[in-house]
Amino acid sequence: MSKRSDARNLSTRHPSRVTRRGQRIGVFVCHCGHNIAGVVDVKRVAEELSRYPGVVYATDYEYMCSDPGQDLIKRAIREHRLSGVVVAACSPSMHETTFRRAAEEAGLNPYLVECANIREHCSWVHNPGLEATEKAVRITRTMVEKVKGNMPLEPVEVSHADKCLVVGGGIAGIQAALDVAEAGYEVILAERSPTIGGHMAQLSETFPTLDCSQCILTPKMVEVERHPNIRLLVNAEVEEISGFIGNYRVRIRKRPAYVDPDLCNLCGECEKVCPVRVPNEFDRGLLERGAIYIPFPQAVPSTYTLDEETCLGIKPLICGKCAEVCEPGAIDFDMSEEVIEEEVGAIILATGYDLYETKALPEYSPEDPDVIDPLQFERLLSATGPTRGEIRRPSDGKVPKTVVFIKCAGSRDPELHKPYCSAICCMYTAKHALLYKHAVPDGRAIVFYIDIRAPGKGYEEFIHRVMEEDRVLYIRGKVAKVFREGDKLIVWGVDTLSGQRVEVEADLVVLAMAVVPPEGVEELARTLRLSCLDENGFLKEAHPKLRPLETLAGGIFIAGAAQGPKDIPQAVTQGSGAAAKAISLLSAPVLTHSPEVAEVDEELCSGCRVCAPLCPYGAITVEEVAQVNELLCEGCGTCVAACPSGALSLRNLDDAQVERMVEAALAELEGAREAVEVKGG
């Protein structure tokens, strides 16, 4: 038995770093203008505190956070040789850093400074009077007790890897990868499909300026391929992410393409001889492709890819016709899967979106070839699409003379479908109607809508132009049913403005389907071992307003439609924003973290593992005994409360401190003693 555990054999409490001796605490009571002083008698608070044991100096001041206020603290620290400071003012989340920095400048360890929150916790929630003042005194005393038990601490410092992983090569991921790479950091861009570009590559022209989508996208795709700092991995999926901010270990599995991209000269002979024909994903099934194919001519990397799933067979080789005709010998059936392991400092998730399947809306006859989704319509509009930009309907190739667009298909329907607004459908439907009218000037475009949401720059103007100049008919109302009658699709709806039933004979119906999270995002979230999905399955930001690009896991950022439906300008903005976040992390010489974290007393921990699964930040691992990763711990205290062995404690907030704080808070209150009765064994 070691000496120490002997001494503890019967102890009832941590041999806490009990109060440091000879305390000289300074108390600074802030008026916060009228915010505090209008309710609390701040002078009295200062006066009462000046008589409190351990306090050698107490004063009040108009605005403690102002420069003169901070100077007051600094001067007092020097003149009164203060060993600790309590600022009775606003919430520590507001100015703790301000006051700690000031103290540090005066030579006092910043962790010996605490804020007593007499604003949010007192003056803002009480009426002026004696009781409010009394409460402010108690709150301040409580923090004096805490400071008495505080130890001087140094921030935790940890080194980090200097690479960045970007998951998803849509426009958001492309932008993020380029920005990080330009800043001089190595980027690994992992894209699941055989090419980067994402959905933007499928679009025809983009609202509201109507520039050609591929024309503005492909230069960026090429730049990704050429950039010396970017390692592009297509057919790749992230299989495992472990570690923590600045120090993530990632494992990426890359499916073989069976074609050497350096040798493939894009002749396309292979696809011609391939006996397989399956719907082409890029054209949303409007065209077919072979098992060996290129998604679209400008794909990056620029190569054919053999899709093992649809090929007649590789292991063992069943057909092999493609390899026979491949002049440069680019096809290699022996290519095997690669597993890439990397250490990265930051991760940007830009996994984009999918469309809600049309078959979820059986009332609109989704199985009818002329009832299509909006990306199919984009392909019909596209000069590189199946009809070379001529609008012809899938069933018989005729030019449709009446096209009905149904908005909010599956969106804004909390009962049956998605509760949220898909944000982009109003705009792209207007674009669709306009492009249709340009292509078929004598055609009729009818849009059914609930309301129109066009808050972006130039968006409202765009909608007006579509309605007025291009004379698209907007009918406010829902469509109840779409069904075929001979050559026509009958659309039954209600015009909610006039209250009349509407029936339209249409040639083509476009359903503006809801935007949904892409398949596989749950698995990705699971590898992160964090609850990082919102109730609709999109990646969840750490704070919807103040931390929109971060997840709760430090160093993991999100960008683009992965976070929720958004258009290209927003996706690009987020890509750049997430890149900036990653760059600021990667460029820090070391990562620092507050030392006010949980720590494990290894002599008490039995390794029972009650704590580990509770930590919301995944900061605890247990081998023989528990270990807290100081960089991940946010000092929430959950584990401390749970540990049945009392082996965990929070630095500068240990049990003894909490007890003294509770006592100080309740002192002289009736029945208070009993309430503070504490454990003992």
């Binding site: 019967l10 102890s11 009832t12 593992r609 699964p613 049945p644 009392g646 454990k679 064994g681």
Partner: protein
Amino acid sequence: MSSPTSLTETRHSSPVPRRDAKPKLAVYWTGSCGGCDVSFLEVGEAIVEVLSRVEIVFWPALVDAKRSDLEALPPGSIDVALINGVIRTEENAEMAKLLRAKSKYIVAYGACAHLGGVPSLADRWGKEEIFREVFGKGFRPGPPPGANGEAALPDLLDAAVPLEDVVRVDYVVPGCPPPAPLISRFFGALLGGEMPEPPHVFANVKALCEECQRVRHDDRRIERIVRPHEVLPDPETCLLEQGLICMGPVTRGGCNALCPAAGMPCTGCLGPTPEAGDPGTAMLSALASLVRFEDEGEEYFPKEDGVLEALADPLGTFYMYSFGRFRRKR
């Protein structure tokens, strides 16, 4: 933490016992089931050796001795007195005080002396209530029929209390009854002249899980609570994860986790670890942490409550041996 394997090594001298003499030993039972007296046999043959190296001055279960013999001894003449059993009657308390006066060191031997033990669960009710329940209204302990006042039964105390409530306790050998490794640890120290500074409990500071070989999984949680007779537990996995309330996380180790190894959850007989304090609150916070479903959030609260409600007899589960020590004294 090692426990001596042989009890015969004598390396260092210590105040107890003097080197030249065998330590004088007393063993006494108060409110006890008798198991503690038998428990010495658990250490096997080594007990013969132990007995040959001590001088038994008083041990009602083993040698004939009267209270008057004890009273005749000079104060401090017994080196070590081991007392097992709860303090339930006035006589128990008197005997404990008498032994205290005659002994250099008092050892609370077994869970009852240590923490009140199973009998102290009676403290849930007052003495009067117990009489009323067991013997009917108006019962008073008195002399048996035909006997005179002197033969009166000793009256019950208001509560069944641990030894430390009536006398100062120097050492504890915990357990119900104390398991062989801890008995050996105690006699090893005594005969080896290595007794620690009192007060001292002869058991581990760390909780039982440290010694338990059962596997604790990363995402450990409890989705239902069951009682031992309702399941055949998986032999590898931690019993808590299987829904059995194992007191291991809050209980001192030292027994080599015999019960969990045999598929029985720990019931806490070695008492809580020093930092766990009140085993009920410590265990409750551990349980509240473990009871959880794959997802969390308010909608799961009723489900979680439901799991905890299935806990039959919380008092008897959390304080099976320690109610006397931890009950809130009026």
